[in-house]
């Protein structure tokens, strides 16, 4: 049977050889072009998505910088405030001032203080204070001690009693940190501004204002070409 079919199949193949060749060529071209174009499209999509993110970040940075420029006085005040709360280098004068300030504000008399070098670290100075006062003044001290003195103060363990009086000992920590200027996306949003406004209400701003111009190192890597 096959022996008899062969001649006209061969003849049909010969007749349609052009079509068959074109079919294979087109199939090959279709596969190659679709795979090349698809990979190009997906590569471009990734590039486009990255660019969209970059542009959004840059837009945010420009908006942030523009709005901050519009309120440069507030910006400068915030820098001073934060640099007073956490100075770049430790400053014993401001520690003493902060303790006196707290003592005056709360009525809790700080009678002695000693530096606890054992528990101090590079950015954290541990100070043990002794003080006297009634329960009310101690509660007021506890209310204000974080920011009220003009320096950031924390205490990781506090004991109090409603009827306490006499000599009270409390361990306080003061902080200093040299701050690097962030490079890249800034997140200076309204929440941060609100938080800073709240913070200003807790801090003795007169001390911040009266202090000398903040000698804050705001050096940043300058890029000559933006691209």
């Amino acid at each position: 049977m096959n022996k008899h079919l062969k001649p006209y199949i061969i003849s049909l193949i010969k007749e349609n050889l052009t079509y068959i060749s074109i079919l294979f060529v087109i199939l090959f071209l279709l596969m190659v072009s679709v795979s090349v174009l698809l990979s190009k499209y997906s590569f471009n999509s990734i590039k486009e998505n990255d660019l969209v993110k970059e542009v959004a970040d840059l837009n945010k940075r420009v908006e942030t910088a523009s709005s901050a420029m519009a309120d440069s006085q507030n910006l400068q005040q915030n820098i001073k405030l934060l640099d007073k709360l956490i100075p770049g280098t430790e400053d014993f004068f401001s520690i003493i001032y902060a303790l006196e300030n707290l003592s005056r504000k709360s009525g809790f008399q700080i009678t002695a203080y000693s530096v606890d070098m054992k528990n101090s670290k590079v950015n954290k100075l541990q100070i043990s204070i002794s003080g006297s006062g009634d329960n009310e003044s101690f509660i007021k001290f506890l209310k204000d001690y974080n920011f009220g003195g003009g320096r950031l103060i924390t205490s990781d363990n506090i004991e109090l009693s409603p009827k306490q009086s006499g000599n009270i000992k409390i361990d306080l920590a003061f902080y200093s940190k040299k701050t690097e200027v962030a490079n890249g996306t800034l997140n200076f949003n309204k929440n941060l501004l609100d938080e800073l406004t709240k913070l200003k209400q807790k801090v003795d701003l007169s001390y911040v204002e009266a202090s000398e111009e903040a000698s804050v190192d705001l050096s940043y890597p300058k890029n000559t070409s933006p691209f």
């Binding site: 008899h4 079919l5 006209y8 199949i9 049909l12 193949i13 349609n16 079509y19 068959i20 074109i22 079919l23 087109i26 071209l29 279709l30 072009s33 174009l37 499209y41 471009n44 590039k47 486009e48 542009v55 840059l58 837009n59 940075r61 420009v62 910088a65 901050a68 420029m69 910006l75 400068q76 820098i79 934060l82 956490i86 954290k124 506890l142 974080n146 950031l152 924390t154 205490s155 990781d156 363990n157 506090i158 004991e159 109090l160 009693s161 409603p162 009827k163 920590a173 902080y175 940190k177 701050t179 200027v181 962030a182 800034l186 200076f188 800073l196 705001l218 940043y220 933006p226 691209f227």
Partner: protein, 214 residues
């Protein structure tokens, strides 16, 4: 000699006629028996021709669509690159402000980190005081110690055993337990046992507060 030639040519003629008759007969027979198959194969080749044309059209369409999509995409990328260039140029003038913002942001982040070292004693103290005063007038907070991990030890004192028993009911209620991650009774003591007139019952608790947002 001419006669011989004539005979030879006649013989060749006959052979050719016989051969052509044989060939014609063979073809005729094949076409008659395999016509169905021939049509089937011809149909297959017909569809191959149609498929080739259709595939060519599809290929042109697909490639065109891809080219259009790519050119649209490229124009979007070009526009984004232009935007990026403009924004970077505009940021060049604002380097100082950005440095200040970066400084504020970093300082504030440090401040938040450092504040994690604080026990936040007063809000938790006030919370416990208000919880106790809402339960019973008789419970008095004698001492309160809290760490930065919100672990607290507190002592509550009572003047009578009835007050103490009524406080136990409160301690086990949801109104009191809602403030704590965990709480356990550390000790029970009777102060002033030698002077029977001024007995004080004291309960000491170990607990951990749930974090509160100040």
């Amino acid at each position: 000699m001419p006669n011989n030639c004539h005979i030879l040519s006649r013989q060749l003629e006959l052979i050719c006629v016989n051969a052509s008759t044989h060939i014609m007969r063979t073809k005729k027979i094949n076409l008659l028996t395999d016509r169905g198959d021939y049509h089937r194969y011809e149909k297959i080749f017909y569809w191959i021709r149609i498929a080739t044309i259709a595939l060519a059209v599809i290929t042109v369409l697909v490639v065109s669509v891809f080219f259009i999509m790519l050119s649209v995409q490229n124009s979007r990328i070009e526009s984004l690159l232009q935007q990026k260039k403009q924004l970077l140029l505009s940021l060049q003038d604002k380097n100082d402000v950005e440095a200040k913002i970066g400084f504020i942001q970093n300082k504030y982040n440090s401040l938040k980190d450092f504040m994690k070292d604080d026990a936040h004693s007063l809000p938790y103290y006030n919370l416990l005081q208000s919880a106790l005063s809402s339960s019973t007038e008789s419970a008095a907070l004698k001492s309160f110690q809290i760490s930065k991990t919100r672990d607290v030890t507190f002592v509550v004192s009572f003047l009578s055993i009835e007050q103490l028993l009524s406080f136990f009911k409160f301690v086990e209620s949801e109104d009191f337990l809602k403030y704590f991650e965990k709480i356990s009774l550390k000790s029970f003591s009777i102060a002033g046992a030698s002077q029977s007139t001024n007995l004080k019952y004291e309960l000491s608790f170990n607990a951990r507060f749930l974090e509160i947002n100040e």
